[in-house]
C-alpha cells in the first residue's frame, strides 16, 4: 500500500483577529500517487485550508492535526513545510517588484537543498533546469527572469505558479484555483504540465470550481468542502454531478 503523504484530522481553525471559525472538523487523507479534487461553494474555506496547511499567519488552529509524511507540521514555519515537500500554488499569486523570478527560485532551491543536506545547484544546471521547466508550462523565458509576477497577466501568473512547482518538485502540491483565469489552450498546457510532474511518489490537491480541469487532470477522489468540512467524497463522477446540480442538494 502506498504511503500517506498528507493526513489532516479533525482540523478546526479560526481567523485569529475575529475568532471566527472557518474550518470545523475537516478530515482529509492523501496518499502518494493520488490526485484529489476539492470543490465547494465560495467562502466554504478551501483557500483557508490551503493557508492553514501551509502555515500562514493570522489563523489559529484550535483543534486537530496535520501530518506530512507521518510528521506533525503545525509547529513548523511555512518555509520549513516547503522544505519538507509542501507546495502551494496561490489562488492570487503575489506580485513582488524588484525580486527576480529566477533569482528567488535559485535562493529557494538552494535553501531547500541545504536543509536536506544536499549540494547546491550550479548556475549552469540551474539555468538548464529553468529552460526545461519553463518549457513544460510554455512560460516565456523572459517572464522567468522578470520580477515575480509583476505585470504578469492573470494566466501568466498561474503558469508561473506551476513553473515554480516544477522547479521545486514538491511531495504534496496544493493548487488553489490554478485553472481560473486560464484560457482553454493555457488550461490544457498547464494540466499537461501537472500530469508530467505527477508520479507515484507525490500527490496533488486541486481546488477548483470547474469540472473542466478534471477532464485533463483526472482525480482519484473528489471532495466537497462546505462550511469548513468535507461533506461528501466520491470519484470523478461526483464532479459531473456537481456541475449539473450545484451544491444545494447536498444539504
Amino acid at each position: 500500500m502506498s504511503k500517506t503523504l498528507l493526513d489532516i484530522k479533525n482540523l478546526h481553525a479560526e481567523i485569529e483577529e475575529e475568532g471566527k471559525a472557518i474550518l470545523k472538523g475537516l478530515n482529509l487523507t492523501v496518499k502518494a500517487g493520488e490526485v484529489h479534487a476539492i470543490m465547494g461553494p465560495n467562502g466554504a474555506g478551501k483557500s483557508t485550508l490551503a493557508s492553514v496547511v501551509s502555515g500562514k499567519d493570522g489563523y489559529e488552529v484550535t483543534d486537530g492535526t496535520v501530518e506530512m509524511d507521518g510528521a506533525d507540521i503545525l509547529e513548523l514555519d511555512p518555509d520549513e513545510r516547503a522544505k519538507e515537500g509542501l507546495f502551494l500554488a496561490f489562488q492570487y499569486p503575489v506580485e513582488i517588484p524588484g525580486v527576480s523570478n529566477i533569482n528567488f527560485l535559485r535562493t529557494a532551491l538552494n535553501e531547500i537543498k541545504e536543509y536536506r543536506q544536499e549540494e547546491p545547484i550550479s548556475a549552469k544546471d540551474f539555468m538548464a533546469m529553468v529552460r526545461e521547466k519553463s518549457a513544460l508550462v510554455d512560460l516565456d523565458a523572459k517572464l522567468a527572469s522578470r520580477s515575480v509576477n509583476e505585470g504578469f497577466s492573470g494566466g501568466e501568473k498561474k503558469r508561473n505558479e506551476i513553473f515554480q512547482m516544477a522547479m521545486l518538485e514538491p511531495k504534496v502540491a496544493i493548487l488553489d484555483e490554478t485553472d481560473s483565469g486560464l484560457d482553454i489552450d493555457a488550461l490544457r498546457i498547464v494540466a499537461a504540465g501537472v500530469n508530467k510532474l505527477k508520479n507515484e511518489n507525490n500527490a496533488v490537491i486541486l481546488i477548483t470550481h470547474y469540472q473542466r480541469l478534471l477532464d485533463y487532470i483526472v482525480p482519484d477522489f473528489v471532495h466537497v468542502l462546505a462550511d469548513g468540512q468535507i461533506v461528501k467524497t466520491g470519484d470523478k463522477s461526483l464532479a459531473l454531478e456537481l456541475e449539473e446540480k450545484g451544491y444545494d442538494w447536498l444539504n
Binding site: D79, F90, F104, Y115
Partner: protein, 411 residues
Amino acid sequence: MSDKLNNFIKNLDVSAAKFQQMAAERLGNLDFPTTKDEYWKYTRLGKLTKLELSKSADPDRLNLTKHIISNDYLVVVNGFIREDLSQYSKLDFEIDFLGSDRMSEEAYFDKGLNKKDVFSSMNSAFFEKVISIKIGASKINEGPLQIIYVSKGDHIISNTRLYIESGKSSQSEIIQTFIEKESTNSFTNHVTEVYVSENAHLRINKAQLEDDTNSLITTEQIHQEKNSVFKINTVTLSGALVRNNINIAVAGQNCETHMNGAIVTKNNETIDNHTFVDHRVSNCVSHENYKYVLGGKSTGVFNGRVVVQKDAQVINAYQKNDNILLSDFAKINSKPELEIYADDVKCSHGSTTGQLDEDAIFYLQTRGIAEDNAKKLLVRAFVGEVIESFENEHFEKYINTQLELIHGWKN
C-alpha cells in the same frame, strides 16, 4: 565661542595660514546648532559634541584590500593623506595635496560654502591638506578614482577636505569610502567642493560604513555649469550619527542633477540627509530618490529642499523618499521643501513609509525561503533601484558584500 564648541576643539591647533586663521576666527562667533534650528530639528548633536576628541596621525600600515575597488586610490587616515598607502597614476586625474595658501589661489575654492555653518567652518580651520583633483578638459576617464577615508583609534577627530574640478566636456567618477579600523567614539568632519564645468559629466559614489559609535558629517558644495550632468549616490550602512548636507547650485542651463540614497540600519543609528538643489536658471532637470530601511531603534531624517528661482523656467524637479521600518522602534522624519518662484515648472515629490509586505514574505516562505532571508530579499529589492544607479559593477559588488558583512544580507 561657546564653551561647548571651545571644549570640542580644544585639542586642535590652527595652522599659521591666513585662510585657516580666518576660519578659526569665524568659528569663534558660531555655535553648534540645536533642535531649535530648522535644519537640525530632528538630529541631536549632544552625544557627539560631548566627546573629548584629538588628532592622531597614525603611522601604521593598514590592510585595506577588501575596500579597494579601483586601480587608482588615495588613502586618508584620521585626516592625514597617506601617500605610502595610496596608488595612482597622474595620467587620468591631476591629483595634488595642497595647503590652504595654495588652495586660496583657486578661483572656486571655499566660495560656495555657507560661512555661518559651524561644521564646514571647523573644517576650514583645521583640515591638514586638501586633496585637489582636477580632470582635464575633454578627458574621458574609464576607471574611477577612489578615496578611502579611514578612522583609526578612539576619540579621534578628522577634518578631511576634498576639492574637485571637472573640466569642460570631461567624464569621470569618484568613489568615496568612509570606513573604520578598530575605531570607536570618533568623528569625521568632511567637506567636498565640486565645480562641474560646462558639458562635463561627474559621478560621485559614496559608501559610509563607520563604526556604530563613530559619527560622520559631510558638507558637499556643488556648482554646475551649463550642459553638465552631476550625479551623487550615497549609501550609508552604519554609524552613530551620519549627516550629509548636499548643496547643489545649478548655475547653467540644460543641466541634469541626480541624487540617490540608500540607507540601511539596525541599531541606534541616526542617519540624516539634507539635500538642497538650487535651480538658478532655466531648462534643467533634477531627480532625487532616497530609500531608507530602518531597523532597531534607529532614526532616519530626510529633508529635500528644492528652490526654483524666479526666472528659472521649464524646470523638472522630481523627488522621492520611500522608507521601510523594520521595527516598531525605528522612526523616520521626512520632509520635502519646495520653494518655487517661477511658473513654468514641473515639480513632484512623494514620500511613503511602511512595513514589508506580509503577503510577499509568506509567498517567498512557501517556496522554502526562511522568513529572515525573505525579508532580506524584499529589502534588497526595495533599495535595488538605488543600487542600479551606481553604474559601477565594482561599487555595486562592494556594497553587496558590505550588506552581507554588516547586515547579514545574502544576494
